[in-house]
Symmetry: C2
Subunit: 308 residues, 2 copies
DNA sequence: CGCAAATATAGCATTTTACGCAAAGCTGAA
DNA sequence: TTCAGCTTTGCGTAAAATGCTATATTTGCG
């Protein structure tokens, strides 16, 4: 006769990898008691389902389903687990309800100002996420010239603006970057329209440039030309990045615009991006507000939401 | 002014991938409120931990931790979630206790009979697993000749036997395969000791064979020789596979034994395995019991345990 | 104001895990 | 005993998680 002396640690194989999906799976199985049907119902192959059940049983530490009979039957442990799953899942949903309830308690109104440039790419993201979590906050969004944005926050016309980060930021303002957009040189699609581009290397003094009248983009371009030791031939100075794309498309000359402006421009397919080295320093797009406004729960909430 | 019309489905991004590990992680973080310390404590890199927290927040649908202060602080939603986690984890452990309680309630005694051959490989597996789940069951294991095993179940001397599956199984017996072991031809290490093996192809009529007196192994060997149209030269008939290995090791002739007997034989390094084609049909090792005994909860439990 | 420490994120290589398909194994019924 | 349907397993591939490193932020503290 053989005497046993196997000692098995209680939680030896526990890895705590059961997730809520597993619980849902088990719930379906416990209801349907038929692997094939459940696998169809849950759009997963029978093998996946089978393995998932095994994993669960291993984690729970007991055989949960008596597969020896048809239809399947829950073992006593399985029945216990079924009840547990029911309770746990409902408790999880309950939590989510509570949380979203809690969250959506925030109410009030928030005024945003957004440069047209910025509105193209970032606005939708920021707003949809915020809207999801705080449906009861009344959002008012104004769009306008980028140059105005900082003034708007300072004046208090807007709680938050979405704009490119200015070269220098006043001390009482806070900025949160949420995206970057490179500054691109663009030329007409038909290179013939700007004869000077035919030379290699390009003789920039002969290239008619279409640039922003002022603002960050212009600053960056000036810095770039200066760094190259070049005196550009500025053909036209425009207010508003959108117009630059149009003018370039018409063959007037070469322009510089943020990538996201170009991406959203109806003229985008009528210009081409020039591979320029070194690249211009990209724009940082983000949120800007007066520092003291961050204590406002709504502003704070928006700030956090955008962070994700 | 821009009016919003974003409709965000309530559970849009839910993928239900939060597992218990995540809950543990959050619990640690909620207690320690310090990423670095927790990452050490839990043996994971800071980046992993950070990502994991983000995932959790996304699943819960709210920002749970205010990272803007030091030390961190739970948001209201975070506090809610912390309580939830506490409750859920304890409930999970409770379930496991209940289940193992439930499981280990099974008590009584079970008598196993096990052929020496089978005991080498399978017994430990089967028993340790069973022992883990049903610690209160008193297991009595007898070992003995394989040929006797079927008789033992039929007589009721053993509730279950572990043995090779016989060629034909009486109707009132059930068998559950849990392992396979190939049947191997073995020859002495020094080939010189059996001169007939020097020819190619082997002239089997000249090779002295050491075979089981009877039993499954013998049947298989007979079938094999018959299939080859060969009349073997049976030099010795032995009872018990173990003895065959010894005799072959001594240079008496060529034998046939299950792989697992060979693996566990102290003589294993004094014989060599012959690459024989076609291979003999392997043994099926498993559990055997009288069909009606399966209704006994203990037997049933053993049956299920062995299945995993 | 800026510096130092802590935290977050991106990119990458590597390991782990999950999945589906096909093949093998098992169960129940003819 | 054999057959058909249901399950499980083997295996190659796809997806996800993780650690590391580098970099950008952010907080706390002079």
């Amino acid at each position: 006769m053989l005497y046993l002396r196997y000692l098995v640690a209680e939680n030896a194989m526990m890895v705590w990898v059961v997730d809520y999906k597993d619980l849902q799976v088990f719930q379906s199985v416990a209801t349907t008691l038929h692997l094939g049907r459940v696998s169809q119902q849950l759009h997963m192959s029978a093998s996946t389902l089978s393995r998932r059940l095994s994993k669960i049983e291993q984690e729970v530490g007991a055989c949960l389903i008596d597969r020896g009979v048809s239809p399947w039957q829950l073992t006593p442990a399985g029945e216990l687990f079924r009840q547990y799953v029911e309770q746990t899942l409902s408790s999880w949903q309950q939590l989510r309800r509570n949380v979203s309830q809690h969250i959506s308690d925030l109410a009030g109104s928030l005024t945003l100002y957004c440069s047209v440039t910025a509105s193209y790419s970032v606005l939708a993201d920021v707003l949809s996420r915020f809207r999801e979590q705080y449906p009861r906050v009344d959002l008012r969004v104004h769009t306008g010239d980028a140059a105005e944005s900082i003034a708007r926050v300072e004046a208090g016309d807007a709680d938050v603006v979405i704009a490119a980060r200015p070269e220098s930021l006043a001390a009482h303002l806070t900025f949160k970057t949420i995206a970057h957009s490179p500054l691109l040189f663009i030329a007409p699609k038909s290179i013939n329209s700007v004869a000077a581009l035919h030379h290699t290397p390009i003789d920039w003094s002969q290239v008619p440039m279409v640039l922003s009248e002022q603002g960050l983009a212009r600053t960056r371009v000036n810095q770039w030309f200066q760094g190259q030791g070049i005196e550009p031939h500025v053909y036209a100075q425009v207010s508003g990045n959108e117009a630059i794309v149009s003018m370039v498309a018409l063959g007037v000359g070469v322009g510089v615009v943020p990538e996201l402006v170009l991406r959203n421009s109806p003229m985008a397919n009528r210009v081409r991006i020039m591979p320029i080295q070194p690249e211009l320093e990209p724009f940082a797009i983000g949120l800007c507000a007066r520092a003291e406004r961050l204590s406002d729960p709504l502003v704070h909430a928006l700030w956090k939401t955008a962070a994700l």
